[in-house]
């Protein structure tokens, strides 16, 4: 067989060469492939020619145009070193800008109340014991470890007591307490989720006993214990005014217990003494409502209001709310005021004693007032001053207006008679007042949320 002698039997060298060099068009390539599929001779020729060509004949897929450097790439190639830190800076800047434009919400921590079915019974136990029992064990341990017993020891005199002024906590101790509180919250040991620094502030107990700054004497109320006015009940007080006031109360004669040392962080709930950090919120934990701690200053205490918009009987939205101890007041969008004494479960409408619509409600309306006995107020009137707000007395007790906090019992709307709420600055209106502002710019105050009087 010779291709020159049998030219029609096989593709000639020119065609096979064109096939090897991929110079054939598709219509010309098909018959060659068809022939080669069954012709070993032509396959051998093609593969031999391909092997002899070596790298000279490059497959079509391997022929790729060399990428030409673009002008854009050439420009950026010179600045490649600077591009990396610039990109990093841009990323950091973008993150900072994003954080600035999307600030984190205020540290609103919901205090989910732990045991609604176990309300604290203030009359059941002596004040000191009661307040200690209200403190979680963990906090009690911390306090026992960090705080020496306050001096003086429990005095037998029921009418006098010492209240140590709560000094400004050192930053280092506050930081430690903050860390401890955070760790407790992480472990879930703390029943109340407070702002860590606020909780630490509340937990802070001065390591050194501070001599009492003011001693007041009051008539012994049956269920009233000395307490320090809670900043919880003083939302309008400025941060500079939130220095804890030192008072000394009298133990309840009914209990017969001597007034013990007043914890610096005590707060009174319905005449019961409770520490602010544990006892106060813990007593509030007995209420099934969900309260919210509003943003606050670092050295202040939390203000409470409704964390959610409660369902009011009117079916309208809550536009303002206030919590004073176990009483919740809410104003709906129609201006109606509703009161709840069971933590928001049941609401009763407050009969409007004002003209117009209620706009906002908050509590307490005034600051600088503490629940004290009248004697203590008189004795302490010179020790603590600075609060000049006074309200006209409604009744005969102009100086020592009876202003106990609302009782724990929902039906006990009237304050205890032997409990006296006095101003630390001067004889003034009772503290722990709900304050209501109407659309006519009138301010109404109330002790229990039911009976209102114009301020």
């Amino acid at each position: 067989m010779h291709p020159m002698t049998q030219p029609d039997l096989h593709p000639d060298a020119d065609t096979l060469n064109a096939f090897v060099e991929h110079a054939l068009s598709a219509p010309e390539r098909g018959p060659v492939i068809t022939h080669m599929a069954g012709c070993k001779r032509c396959r051998e020729i093609v593969y031999l020619a391909q092997a002899a060509a070596g790298p000279e004949v490059t497959p079509a897929f391997a022929v790729q145009p060399e990428p030409r450097p673009r002008r854009f790439s050439a420009v950026f190639a010179r600045w490649r070193v600077a591009l990396v830190p610039a990109a990093a800076l841009a990323s950091v800047g973008a993150i900072v800008l994003w954080v600035q434009l999307h600030p984190a919400p205020g540290r609103m921590e919901t205090a989910k109340l732990a045991s609604p079915s176990a309300p604290h019974s203030p009359q059941a136990a002596p004040p000191g014991v009661d307040s200690e029992l209200a403190i979680p064990p963990r906090i009690r341990q911390d306090r026992a470890a960090a705080t020496p017993p306050l001096s003086p020891p429990p005095q037998p005199e029921p009418r006098r007591g010492h209240a140590a002024k709560k000094p400004a906590p050192p930053a280092a101790e506050i930081n430690q307490l903050t860390a401890a509180t955070l760790s407790e919250q992480r472990r879930g040991e703390s029943p109340i989720h407070l702002d860590a620094r606020s909780a630490a502030m509340a937990r802070y107990v001065p390591s050194q006993p501070v001599p009492p700054r003011a001693v007041v004497t009051s008539t012994p109320p049956p269920a009233l214990t000395p307490f320090e006015a809670s900043p919880l009940a003083d939302p309008l007080r400025s941060a500079s005014e939130r220095k804890p006031k030192t008072v000394e109360g009298l133990p309840s004669p009914a209990s017969g217990a001597a007034p013990g040392p007043i914890p610096g962080n005590a707060v009174a709930l319905h005449g019961q003494l409770a520490p602010i950090a544990a006892g106060g919120p813990a007593q509030m934990a007995a209420q099934p409502a969900q309260l919210e701690l509003a943003p606050q200053a670092t050295n202040g205490f939390a203000l409470m209001r409704l964390a959610r918009r409660a369902k009011l009987p009117s079916g309208l939205n809550t536009v303002s709310s206030a919590a004073l101890l176990n009483r919740l007041l809410a104003v709906d969008s129609a201006g109606s005021v509703f009161l709840s004494q069971d933590g928001g479960k049941r609401w009763e409408m407050v009969k409007p004693q004002w003209s117009g619509k209620a706009i906002t409600v908050h509590a307490p309306a005034q600051n600088g007032h503490q629940l004290l006995t009248g004697t203590a107020a008189r004795e302490d009137s010179t020790a603590v001053s600075g609060n000049s707000q006074k309200a006209p007395a409604e009744d005969g007790s102009a100086v020592n207006a009876p202003a106990p906090p609302p009782p724990a019992d929902a039906n006990a709307a009237s304050p205890p008679e032997n409990a006296t709420l006095i101003s630390t600055a001067a004889p003034g209106p009772p503290t722990l007042l709900f304050k209501l502002v109407t659309d006519r710019r009138e301010v109404w105050v109330s002790l229990d949320g039911k009976v209102w009087r114009k301020q």
Binding site: L9, P11, V20, K40, L48, F61
Partner: protein, 339 residues
């Protein structure tokens, strides 16, 4: 020297075959002088010892032989752009050199030897794998290219068959490979399979017997399955399983990546295997018998070469079946597209 086409010069008889007389008037008006001048510079025709009329006639002959790439009956001379495209698609420098050598131009041969002697020798050695055989092969081709062989009393130069579609060195390599394969087949007295008369032996001619019956059945099914495959798949199978070519060699010939070849091979063998098993099941075998008859893998065909004689014969039978897809003469497929 600036080339100025002279339309009055008649075609020279010294280079190649003269243009038919009926083409002479058309040739004078076919190619524009600007295109001729550009081709002259591009082909370096002066170094090939061509005169301007000879070059003009040569170019016109090349163009007219394929009607400038147009279908028959179209007037290419009226479309200079088409002529330009046609000549741009050809290796005009190689083509002019080849035609000049075929015409007997001494300067063209000098240039050809200068350019292609060493590459041709290297190609011969690469094809034969032996320097002596390679030199011998290259020298034999030189003698043939010089036109020492006569056919029908006329000197015949293989360079005349070069059409310029590929490179001249590629054409030379392919021609060398052709000569080498033909000589190898001649000297080894191996009967080409595609020309053997008994290659189309039917499976029914196999000796009867249980094994032979199964093998003949398998051969029949393989024949049917291969008949359904396309030409490229057959080429892949034949190159890989029969010729033992490597993936990169097949990929270089087909102009694809070897991963593509591998993927295609896998797909084709899988499909072929399924078809064969299905065909055997249709012939009455159960699936297990079909699997056994298939020997689980078509690659076992190549392993049969090392078995005993009977198995070797069966292997050859299957190989013949695969080769039985050889089409008819190449001229019948391509038709009249080639000149």
């Amino acid at each position: 020297m600036e080339y100025l086409p002279n339309v009055e010069i008649l075609p020279s008889q010294t280079v190649g075959t003269a243009i038919p007389a009926e083409l002479a008037p058309a040739a004078q008006s076919a190619i524009s002088p600007a295109l001729l001048a550009e081709l002259w510079r591009m082909c370096d025709a002066d170094s090939c010892g061509l005169t301007h009329p000879e070059f003009e006639q040569m170019v016109l002959r090349i163009g007219m032989a394929q009607n400038f790439g147009l279908a028959a009956g179209l007037a290419a001379e009226a479309m200079p752009a088409q002529q330009s495209v046609f000549f741009a698609g050809l290796r005009m420098a190689d083509l002019v050199l080849a035609r000049a050598c075929a015409g007997g131009s001494e300067r063209a041969w000098e240039r050809f030897i200068t350019l292609y002697r060493e590459p041709l020798l290297r190609a011969g050695i690469a094809i034969t794998g032996n320097e002596t055989l390679g030199r011998e092969l290259a020298d034999a081709l030189y003698a043939e290219l010089y036109g020492l062989t006569l056919r029908d009393g006329e000197r015949r130069c293989p360079l005349d068959s070069y059409s310029g579609r590929g490179s001249l060195i590629g054409w030379l390599r392919t021609t060398l490979a052709q000569r080498h394969v033909d000589r190898h087949r001649r000297t080894h007295r191996e009967q080409p399979l595609d020309e053997s008369g008994d290659c189309a032996a039917t499976p029914e001619e196999a000796a009867p017997g249980p094994d032979h019956q199964a093998v003949s059945l398998l051969a029949q099914v393989v024949h049917e399955a291969l008949g359904k495959e396309g030409p490229e798949e057959k080429l892949l199978l034949a190159s890989y399983y029969l010729d033992g070519r490597k993936l990169h060699e097949i990929a270089a010939v087909l102009g694809v990546h070897e991963a593509t070849v591998s993927r295609k091979l896998k797909r084709v063998t899988s499909a072929l295997r399924k078809q064969i098993v299905r065909g055997l099941e249709r012939k009455g075998m159960n699936r297990r018998q079909a699997e056994e008859a298939l020997s689980t893998d078509p690659r076992d065909l190549t392993a049969a070469e090392h078995r005993d004689g009977a198995a070797d014969r069966e292997y050859l039978r299957l190989k013949e079946l695969l080769q039985s897809s050889t089409p008819g003469p190449f001229k019948e497929q391509t038709g009249s597209t080639r000149s």
